[in-house]
Subunit: 201 residues, 2 copies
Amino acid sequence: MKLLFSPASPYVRKVRITAAMKGVADRIENVPTDTLPLVNEDLRRENPLSKIPVLITDDGMRIFDSHVICEYLDTLAPEPRLFPASGPERFRTLTLGALADGMLDAALLLVYEKRYRPEDKWVESWMQRQQAKIDTSLDWLEKAPPTWSDHPDYGHITLACALGYLDFRHGGQWRARHPGLVAWLDKFASAVPAFDETRPS
Amino acid sequence: MKLLFSPASPYVRKVRITAAMKGVADRIENVPTDTLPLVNEDLRRENPLSKIPVLITDDGMRIFDSHVICEYLDTLAPEPRLFPASGPERFRTLTLGALADGMLDAALLLVYEKRYRPEDKWVESWMQRQQAKIDTSLDWLEKAPPTWSDHPDYGHITLACALGYLDFRHGGQWRARHPGLVAWLDKFASAVPAFDETRPS
């Protein structure tokens, strides 16, 4: 399999952690992919949205986005099960994943505000709107950090990558007011060595 | 069940069409929800991302985003099966859903550019970047519009809602150069009456 990838992408990091937990990382060739230009023909051919990650399977299927790739990788080995098969557990996991992806989407839009616009086109109220999504989600999660029994699952992986991205691109400002989540992330990193192994530099 | 909802949201439309196809629409109370203000306390309490749709189940679970809600609704009745259970079909459906959601995300960002910024803060190159995602995806889908055998599935529903949103908010400009997708959407609307029934006005 090939993974269209960048070491800085938090969505790619989700996939790499999932692959490591499933024991299939050595079956994946990471293909560095630049999403910065308006047109990267190599990327656009595989995903017309020009987004990474994209997984290209050995029989030529193109799978995206990160959620779908992670679920696919989960089918390649029986243990550990990262997507509960059914019931409330499944929808709790998927909703936590969607919450953390939404935090990431907002955090990315804050980065893009400065990457893709000159300073005189920044809009404070738009940035506040994105920041509020992140802050409210952090406060909500801080009240009851999500737990796991045997091992973290897809929802936890996604949350860890969201917090890791807030460290990487937003100076870790979330840490001061969310000690419960700080402890949670430490516990996740202990349980999942791939988290530190995929830390962007 | 309660659905936090707006008639104009294409993500809500996905859920309403799914509910209709599964025969569970009459078990859902639609709760009009305003996402425009920076803070809508009622919404923020249910989803800290302040996004709709949110499904509140009878036993009090909060489920989002639209993808997760649709998958949940798919479990409430056996037929028609909207998420293939496994295999390449499942990942083909989920990837088509992710592609159409990505088109929607880009189309929303184009709307937000004008909704949340004064005109002197618009950035043409950012809008081109979003438009390119939409146009490239349309061209890609036009080459081989996705087919179904017995009935459309979740991927098709999402694509129909994306095209419907391009009609609703972007003047249907996609139609001129994509006759295959125009015919595809007509066929979808014939197969799924809920598509016309949920058309925003």
